[in-house]
């Protein structure tokens, strides 16, 4: 009897903190479902950052100049850092990073659909920075106010760095559209491939996303999928115009009445397919991650053995 009352009181305090727009901290009592939702979200977010290194990492050794190579290297290194910030945040919820990595390489936890598309040309490096990191910024900025303190703080660090990612991508595209016809064509072709997958980054339409409302009530999610998608389209259209390229949607038009751009419905069956494993690169991405992890095993063991030896000599 007293146990239930205690539980109710704890629940009440938790809800008061959320209602006052304050932050829940690691050792606070929290509902089990809240904790699980956060572990799932933060872990899969971290996996996305880590897997997200692969499409662009593929181009580091083939960068067209030392300047572009240094920039791309720094950007990919940032993504590794984002993964680490997020694993650290997930660990405050009582999970272990090694276990999360294990769940990633065994396919029990996923990463974002967008990284299952290949980067086929150097224009893709620019378009990924512009559209993919741009869409990530739309998703991530509201997470800086997430109700869970460690996640919100990690997101503040990440968002500061994402701005560099988007701007370096756009600058690369500006250089290309001011180059030759062939370069302009590369930018257009890359944009055509990444536009729809970028819109899909915001998830299915609100009507098909029943978990969203609980996450919003908990202050984990601040805007719905459709709100963020609209915001992204509105921000991106003038940027495409400035590049002198078109976005591959005949339905795209300014709607005076709504004060927003209208746009066509993405192909949700494609998103379904890519998420459930049939995207162009799903198997390759996990195989690569697993290989890197396995090949690092002896390094992790050697470092631990060295640490033990040093410790015993003290």
């Amino acid at each position: 009897m007293t146990a239930t009352l205690d539980e109710q009181e704890l629940q009440g305090r938790f809800e008061d903190v959320i209602a006052a727009d304050q932050r829940i901290e690691p050792r606070d009592w929290m509902p089990e479902a809240y904790r699980r939702t956060l572990v799932r979200q933060i872990a899969q977010h971290a996996h996305s950052e880590i897997i997200g290194m692969q499409p662009e990492g593929n181009w580091i050794l083939r960068a067209p100049s030392l300047r572009r190579k240094a920039i791309l290297l720094a950007k990919v290194q940032d993504e590794a850092g984002h993964g680490m910030y997020l694993y650290a945040a997930a660990e405050t919820l009582g999970v272990d990073r090694a276990e999360l990595t294990d769940k990633l390489v065994t396919g029990k936890q996923k990463y974002s659909s967008i990284f299952n598309y290949p980067a086929l040309s150097y224009a893709d490096v620019g378009v990924i920075g512009w559209l993919v990191d741009g869409a990530a910024i739309c998703n991530q900025v509201p997470l800086c106010r997430c109700s869970y303190g460690p996640y919100a703080r990690a997101m503040i660090r990440i968002c500061k760095e994402e701005s560099f990612h988007q701007r370096q991508g756009y600058e690369l595209l500006l250089a290309m559209v001011n180059g030759t016809d062939a370069q302009r064509e590369m930018v257009q072709e890359s944009t055509n491939r990444f536009w729809w997958p970028s819109l899909m980054m915001f998830g299915p339409p609100d009507a098909d996303s029943p978990n969203t409302s609980q996450s919003m009530a908990w202050g984990i999610k601040r805007h719905t999928n459709d709100e963020l998608r609209q915001r992204f389209v509105d921000m991106t259209v003038p940027q495409a115009e400035a590049l002198g390229i078109t976005l591959p949607d005949p339905g795209l038009a300014w709607n005076e009445e709504r004060g927003h751009y209208d746009f066509s419905e993405p192909d949700w069956t494609e998103l379904q397919a890519v998420i459930s494993g049939s995207g162009p690169c799903n198997a390759q991405r996990i195989a690569h991650r697993k290989r890197a992890h396995d090949e690092g095993e002896w390094v992790r063991e050697a470092a631990a053995a060295y640490a033990r030896k040093q410790e015993s000599r003290r």
């Binding site: 903190v17 050792r27 979200q41 974002s112 980054m201 915001f202 299915p204 996303s209 999928n225 998420i275």
Partner: protein, 118 residues
Amino acid sequence: MTEYTAEGGHGAVPTEGVPTGSGTTKGSWPLYEVFVRGKRGLNHVHVGSIHAADAEMALHNARDLYTRRNEGVSIWVVLASDITASSPAEKDPFFAPAGDKVYRHPTFYAIPEEVPHL
């Protein structure tokens, strides 16, 4: 059909049937908490944590992770298991002794307005 939505930074991931971990550690490197002094004159501030085999590696990795853009001039790393903390609740009786001592604040004392420099 698996439920999926835009969660986290890069969007659509599944939300159902995703195991969230048992919390068991698999003998991985220990966890260090990281504190960074942003610049001279400021306190070290907690910025996050990092796994490392030993303290020296923790310092190097913390530098690479938390100060890639000159965010720090000094780093402390502390084994997470060595930290002793108060209980987290805001209404914690641990902090009650400070609650009723209003006379510790300058605003407790009424001073006539014409008295200068007080």
